[in-house]
């Protein structure tokens, strides 16, 4: 019933390169997608993705999840700059161990910040890497919230405020990290990352 991935194709480590992803369960065939499924996919282009055609087996939760995702990361009406939302996503993915999610969002963080070296340091050295105080504060909060049980405290919020974040930016850190605790668990369990070609 499940599809195994050959171990030879597993990535070596965290990377900003284009990591692939292959599902363990059969995505819904394109020919079977109906209007309800397309509503769940939100963008018709997502029908070409194995990941989204697997998730569309429950279209209502996929649709709501996709709209949450887009708003947390792409709604630039105030709050945290794009780069730092992607940094929070990368930090959560680094701690949880999602090499695929970390590859995508570290590329975005590097692109939007123009600071690929510090992003790469987070991938190479882990969540205790020194990225400068503002990024350290964001990573520390995202990581604390990702731990089970949560380790987020008032001190983390205070540190974000001292690093120059307002309430909306702090809430964006919370949502960016929290969302990747959703995304990582789907990506990690429903398929495998595939090493860059």
């Amino acid at each position: 019933m499940t599809i195994d991935t050959p171990t030879a194709t597993v990535p070596e480590r965290f990377t900003r390169d284009h990591v692939g992803w292959t599902p363990h369960l059969e995505p819904k065939p394109i020919a079977d997608l109906d209007e309800r499924d397309h509503a769940g996919l939100v963008d018709r282009g997502r029908a070409s993705s194995d990941y989204f055609r697997l998730l569309v087996r429950d279209p209502e939760i996929l649709g709501a999840r996709t709209r949450v995702d887009k708003d947390i990361f792409y709604n630039t009406d105030g709050g945290l700059p794009r780069a730092e939302r992607e940094l929070a996503a990368t930090a959560a993915s680094r701690l949880n161990g999602c090499v695929f999610c970390a590859s995508v969002h570290s590329r975005f963080a590097a692109h939007h910040s123009g600071n690929p070296d510090d992003v790469q340091r987070l991938l190479d050295e882990g969540v205790d890497a020194d990225l400068g105080e503002r990024w350290n504060a964001i990573v520390a909060a995202a990581v604390a919230l990702t731990r089970t049980p949560s380790a987020l405290t008032v001190d983390h919020v205070q540190r974000l405020r001292e690093a120059g974040l307002d309430d909306l930016a702090i809430a964006d850190v919370v949502h960016g990290a929290a969302f990747f605790n959703w995304a990582n668990r789907l990506m990690l369990s429903l398929g495998d990352p595939v090493a860059p070609a």
Binding site: R13, H24, G63
Partner: protein, 200 residues
């Protein structure tokens, strides 16, 4: 059954109308609305023949209790208990003993194996299996995996679910359920912490 609140995150994070936290959440109306729509998609689904509402609430009570004995865990515990009191008692009792720090686990990636960590790999005890049935017991084991050691969730883990009678569609719903709760519980914790800091 007791009705669900109109906005579950507001309820659990104690966001009162007109408060600073309310104003903050309303600056991101799509996130606010669609987080609630996500809850509704899972707990007021169009159909629950693949995964019954009672099973969803039992799994939710287990998942959220593993993460922390907080307002979110109490919420799902109450709804699970109301819907299916006998199985809820067994599940909640098991969850208290199954809570473990995470994330931990082995890496598959060769260059990351030095970062592999160990912890509690939980299996449903025989008395729990007898109380809730094999199908739900398999889902609870999968839930424990996703909550505390997601990087070990692999094809074999999904095969265990399908062997226990979970269809592919049902596995997707189960995965979304546990993953969504990982989000919702953290948003609630984050918002509560922001409010605590403002009050300090």
């Amino acid at each position: 059954m007791t009705a669900f609140p109109p906005d579950v995150i507001d309820e659990l994070a104690v966001v009162t109308p007109g408060s600073a936290l309310d104003a903050l959440r309303r600056q991101r109306p799509v996130t606010r609305d669609q987080a609630q729509e996500s809850f509704a998609a899972l707990f007021a689904p169009r159909g629950d023949t693949e995964v019954s509402l009672a099973d969803r609430l039992l799994i939710a009570a287990f998942a959220t209790r593993l993460t922390g004995d907080d307002a979110t865990a109490a919420f799902y515990r109450a709804h699970a208990t109301e819907t299916d009191p006998e199985r809820a008692a067994a599940v909640i009792d098991a969850a208290a003993g199954a809570a473990a720090p995470g994330p931990f686990g082995r890496y598959r990636e060769p260059g990351l194996q030095a970062e592999s960590t160990e912890g509690l790999r939980w299996q449903a005890p025989a008395e729990l299996r007898a109380a809730v049935g094999e199908r739900l017991a398999a889902a609870l084991e999968h839930t424990h995996l996703l909550v505390v050691r997601p990087r070990e969730a692999d094809a074999a883990a999904l095969a265990a679910l399908t062997d226990a009678g979970w269809s592919v569609d049902a596995v997707v719903t189960l995965s979304q359920l546990v993953a969504f709760l990982s989000f919702q519980q953290r948003v609630v914790i984050g918002l509560r912490t922001i409010a605590e800091e403002a009050a300090a």
